[in-house]
Symmetry: C2
Subunit: 111 residues, 2 copies
Amino acid sequence: MQALSSARCEACDAHAKPATAQEVNHYMPQLPGWQVIRHDGIDKLSQTFKTQGYTRSMSFTNAVAKLAESSDHHPQMIVDYGAVTVIWWSHKIAGLHKNDFIMAAKTSEVF
Amino acid sequence: MQALSSARCEACDAHAKPATAQEVNHYMPQLPGWQVIRHDGIDKLSQTFKTQGYTRSMSFTNAVAKLAESSDHHPQMIVDYGAVTVIWWSHKIAGLHKNDFIMAAKTSEVF
């Protein structure tokens, strides 16, 4: 089976199907450190990456932004002095799509 | 009186005095769009700046990070596709110091 980190995002529109509970349970063991959180009624994938200070936080933030631009799928990022929290979800379906699990895996690789 | 945006941050340690209510009331009219929020029992200065997309969000984030490094005072930043929220407070005193009002004014100038 293809690793999530080497899969490619598919175009996602408002009619795309959200990930099922079975799919979520299948993907999560491939994503150490990631958690499904529920925020404003929307399921999201979140991980806080500890860094060695602001310069490192910013270089990681820029690397994830570059990954986001290349995939045309963009996370929320919370930049702190010694940590960056990356949060993926699919705005168009207000929930989690396979794309988000792919991007989470790629984010961990970038880190 | 010196404009906040042209003032310089002073070194701030755990014994520095937090801004008084009177000082907050004095500074806030100089900071359009900024709000004092209370989060985890800590007063913070927050503003959400709307942007024209992720590239613009990232360029603003990098500009604020550069300002932060030059002042050795670092905000939390929440990067979204079409907005960046910048949140200033002084970790060492777990609250607001004059430095935070200065940095908020400089942030608005950068934007």
